[in-house]
Symmetry: D2
Subunit: 442 residues, 4 copies
């Protein structure tokens, strides 16, 4: 890497790209990026062009010697890359809208990383990511793959299990968001807060939380369950937990736990949004349209503040922070998705887990967790079962496995519903699921 | 045990007792019972008297030198017992009716061993069984405790974890029923069928199935998913599985799996029964009334065939079969609830599991299972989490733990619902849950 | 297997064969053998002829319809076999003599299944057994391989890890000998004694011992350490343990434990034998010569009693007992070498262990052991490390791995000694170790 | 800790104390020590006085506001301490001389942390450390215990298992020495070298080694086995390994591995020293005498360079480095002895292991190792077995367990030798082993 670093960003036309570019600019002194290749597919050509020009303006303003390349030629982008980041969305937001709306028809939660939506996003994404891995083996075998395409847990699992790429890390902005929420709750600087994370992507728990290294978990749980505090908590968490539940659970939850510990309430809420035409995809489609209008402005040469509303805040920042730590062998602690290697007891050694790791030049090294608390062990294992069966279905195109995955998903829990939903969603996403529609001629 | 065997049956006034007595008579040549003590509480005095007299008539008819003792004095019954069987029901069928009806009001399944009903049956039963264990330590420290009071898994877990009694086995008639169903499906003698059982009580899977020692699992799964076979399967299983689901699952399920893999369908069915006043408790109350009328007949000296409808068929037979194997160090294979001891990977060594065991004079020795199939590992772990938190709540009377247990139960999955149901059920069962109502005076 | 059973015995010219034949005759009613194929290599032709004719006379005397085939054509013997037993010795007793004598020159124990001798017997045997497995895949894919060629643990490990044959069982007469010794010690019938075996081949412990199913371990350990008993114990065990040691160990040992818990004493004894020209190979060579003289007698039609002195008593009997249980799905308990599958904690799931198993038609199913006692866990793990590295050396012909295996063997424990011994023994056994002498031309 | 830090150093009269004091001076800006209490027993009064005055002169020279207290009153020293360091030696160097000389008489290695010497040092030390723990519970329950009294692994195991103190870390200078050796071998700065350590105290392996975060393990192993390099390697390591062995082992060893992988050579060397009156205790006794003469010089106010010859270089520095990291929640990586918590597979969760940890204010958090390489797993497990049985013997005074511990130690491996050595050493150390000489009157 002596000549400077080459980054290849798959899905470079994403609205998130300005945050990524901002991150590279901010951390340039530690992470001297020489080439940033933004690559996208034909369907994303226009977005790539718009966001790519903004990226170029941002770099130009910074005065840094970073070259920005825009291309539809993935192989050229991957060639000799040092880091490959992935933020693509197979089928774009239209596919997301289907993931959200179809399950609703069956009275099942529609969300893009959980339940049927998560399954189908995985089924569409995994073959593509494995294809990228295949190219990487040939074109940049020493590169690190930094994935933040959702469902990041299932995708990382698939890469670990079905590709020859070992240098993969799955990233999510949920843990960083949890830390920031706690910082706000305690009214301290974010940098003073540290959480021991353990679990899976979108199913991660904070086993302990520290300020300046001193555990404040009891205080945090008291604050979270204090009725005088409820509007503030709701503001941070979206919704409060029953005090009895969270006291007995005795660990911190992540926002996605709402789907599993408030299943009925979340479903009702989402059904209302569905009826009002306000599913998340619909909201985001509008936001994106506005964003790209902004991006087009030839005078814009910074990340526009409106991007934060988009929902993926800190995602790209987390990615650049991770890349910086790998590049510099920083050995700081970051929560990422990586191979378990015994860190969390009772999960397979070779499965992806989301856990606090020491970030070294040779990648993340998970800090030992031991056994998860009894009360959370079951749900974590169940989501891991779902992810593994789903990944297998994605790779093989095995219809029965897809039905099985959805049946054992706690948001579905019915073989009949699972079959109905799988049938309708397979048809709806047919274009992006060729593995399920192989023609077998006699 | 040279002078003959003493059996103490707690809950001796149960309608099942005639089956137990029949079992002792049938197996007398191998299991020379000298004393059978049927013990009950004051509230069960009348039933004890009725069923006890029937038991005496049955023994008399057999001509065997077995003494039947009827008593309300538990300590006298336990004194020097060789085997203690438990089949009591705290709060009788009225409590069951509450377990079934209250959850329904919240749109949650009402069933006596799963969900809220299972939790509350456990909360009521565990302190009593621990009290029995305490007496056993003093009065019959070498006796085996054969528990078939439900929820048998949670109860066995509690005995293993919170008593000093190691000689405990939890029994269930579900596995034997599964074997009989397969025998019917294949049209072979039951004795030729053997299943490798693994999982938890009411959450047990058949990992493989043999006829004369040869695996027939593939054939069985084909038969279960053959559309030409569906009415027959429905007859055996109550309901059929989606072929895709069961083929990909690739193991045999137990009837209680319907609650977890057909959650919505089961809920709808039960809501209908609930509205028609046909919950299971109501049906059973009627059946029991009829049975006891029959039992009163002074000419009746056999187990009446009507008992089989009661639903607990083979329960007592399984118990006598187990006792016979322990007594004779038979080393045959039986599925029971016992300490895991590493048999099922990723479940705690000291937790109760339901698994095929070799039955020796020193108790059941589980046959190694290794890892459960990926697809079932999660749900099993989740139910074990529930059982452990529930057992802890039962022992400590910790309200928060009760709410936690119910929140993580897959049939509830909502902290708010959990709290509401716990609140109403605690109040309804107040009389039998003193541990939750300890008066703390200032 | 409807037409009767075909057995193929590799190393059929062994002096043990009459015991095997006797076993098949005795158990014919349960195990209707139709064809017994005794197969050997060219170097064993004469022995095969002699022992084969005796086998034929024994069968004839029995009047049973068993055909005995003598052949040097291994493929013909394997074709459609139901069970394949292996009792061959690569390099015959001359090789054994080298295994025993060379280490002695370095002041290291010379024994055919432990230390350098065990390593080199493994290095010679494993390629041959893997070759047999390869043939079996093609010629009798459903057959069971019953191996009693030593070192049986290492050989079974190699088959499990490096062949496609899953139906393999390793057999040893040590456990049966331990049970018989205890029976003698307690003066009870052998059939009443049962031991819970766990560990590895020639490194197996009796975790508990029962008479009629009741634990008598404490009594046995008292008897073994009672000074009034010492001559009797010495008679059974060869030598007595320090009472303090065995009391604190609190499990039963096997004879081979002498090498590890009396290392210096055993070495001194063997050095004396070595100097007197009385190594075991020398003794056995003489015994064998006498045996084959006896076997030649055309009037001999039974297993001659002198065979018992040979040292392998009960070996063949154990094999026939095992085959009978598999064939009949007997589900009795026998100690065998099989895949661990979680039975012994902290040993790999896919490693060979020697453990009490339920013997079914689908093979042995280990009974869960859980954690081994702390004091024995280390030595067991160390021998397993040795076996695995040794098996890898045998398969790859990797010289460095052979040196490593011997260095970590507790009877050598020196890299310099290991290298010297490996060098001399590789040369001495060159003919039978082609994998270490592959010519690599430039 | 707001008012400045209080350190209590048990065994303050040790010749190492000047290094510790130097460490506190050097790191004062990060670690503002206010009080340093050097505490010793009556027998060490004179040494405490000498070294204590030197410490005071060193502090005075530094101009820092650190108070040095010299005392024989352990309770006063412990009262409200923030960190307790232990570097005492029960029975002083005379006891060490016995530990080294007695085993030699039986032809067994005499060394103070391995084999019989290690066992007896543990038996003497563990009751004292548990007594300190008991005082700490009362006097400074929030303090960290930093132990570098050997055998540090066994002592840490005993504290974890038999005291109520959780805040304990065992320290050793072996890992830091390995890193420095590698730095010398590669001719790079020590700070650029990092090793992934895993194993037990004095049985620790370097699983990988990095310069600036990049693995150089292959290069290091090549250098270590390059014949052109041998004199240099010997200089670093004392002695070279057989290239075949170390290549196949494929991990870095620590100096104490010589005892296990060159057992015979080390024994011969030590026997020679023994015959020449040059056992380590004898050498050290002379060194110490000289050191204390130096320390008496009232003009000396620095750590004299001669201390480095003493053999414990970097010990105290490692301790201060660790304390600094805990105090400041530094989250840097250091190798320490701590609770395994699943970091190393197949070792108990609650056992002490020596492993690379992240050092936080809440103590060391081990980085997950997963499975140790096959070839080293066995020896590590065996030493852990020894340590656990030895710790149990130390706590209970159970003679049989002491014999068992020594029999399973790979440097003894004989029940008869074990008994003889235990008998003679118990008698020789009688004064310091009261737990084995409890008078039981009738």
């Amino acid at each position: 890497m002596t000549k400077g670093i080459k980054i290849a960003t798959i899905g470079g036309g994403s609205s998130y790209t300005p945050e990524l570019v901002e991150g590279f600019i901010k951390r340039y002194s530690e992470l001297p990026v020489r080439e940033l290749w933004l690559v996208d597919v034909e369907a994303g050509r226009e977005k790539l062009e718009i966001v790519g020009q903004l990226a170029k303006r941002m770099i130009e303003k910074s005065g840094l010697p970073i070259e920005v390349h825009l291309t539809l030629d993935r192989k050229a982008a991957l060639k000799d890359a040092d880091f490959v980041t992935t933020q693509f969305r197979v089928g774009l937001l239209d596919a997301r809208a289907k993931d959200e709306r179809i399950p609703m028809k069956y009275g099942v939660l529609g969300q893009e990383t959980n339940g049927p939506g998560g399954l189908f996003k995985g089924l569409r994404t995994i073959p593509v990511i494995l294809d990228i891995c295949h190219d990487m083996e040939e074109l940049c075998p020493n590169a690190w793959l930094i994935n933040f395409t959702n469902p990041a847990g299932m995708v990382t699992e698939a890469v670990l299990r079905y590709s020859n790429i070992n240098k993969v890390v799955g990233l999510c902005n949920v843990p960083i968001g949890m830390e920031m929420g706690i910082a706000k709750l305690l009214d301290v600087e974010h940098s003073r807060v540290r959480i021991d994370f353990a679990g899976l992507n979108h199913m991660v728990y904070g086993l302990d939380v520290y300020v300046d290294g001193v555990s404040v978990k009891d205080e945090v749980i008291n604050l979270l369950t204090d009725p005088n505090n409820s509007s503030f908590v709701k503001n941070i968490q979206g919704q409060g937990w029953e005090p009895s539940f969270i006291k007995a659970l005795d660990v911190l939850t992540c926002p996605y736990h709402m789907y599993y510990y408030k299943t009925r309430e979340m479903l009702e809420k989402d059904l209302k949004n569905f009826e009002n035409g306000e599913t998340r995809a619909e909201v985001v489609q509008k936001l994106e349209k506005d964003l790209f209008e902004l991006y087009k402005d030839p005078n814009l040469d910074i990340k526009p503040p409106q991007l934060e509303k988009r929902g993926g805040a800190y995602y790209s920042d987390a990615a650049v922070r991770l890349i910086t730590s790998i590049y510099n062998d920083k050995r700081d602690i970051q929560p990422v998705n990586t191979r378990n290697n015994g860190a969390i007891a009772s999960l397979p050694d070779d499965s992806a887990v989301e856990v606090s790791c020491v970030i070294t030049k040779e990648g993340p090294k998970p800090i030992s967790v031991g056994d998860l608390p009894v009360a959370v062990r079951g749900l974590v294992q169940q989501i891991k079962s779902f992810e593994r069966v789903a990944a297998e279905a994605a790779v093989t195109g095995d219809y029965d496995k897809a039905v099985l995955a959805l049946t054992i998903n706690p948001l579905v829990a019915s073989d009949k519903l699972a079959k109905q939903i799988v049938d309708e969603m397979l048809e709806a996403h047919k274009e992006h699921l060729p593995q399920f529609f192989k023609v077998v001629e006699a």
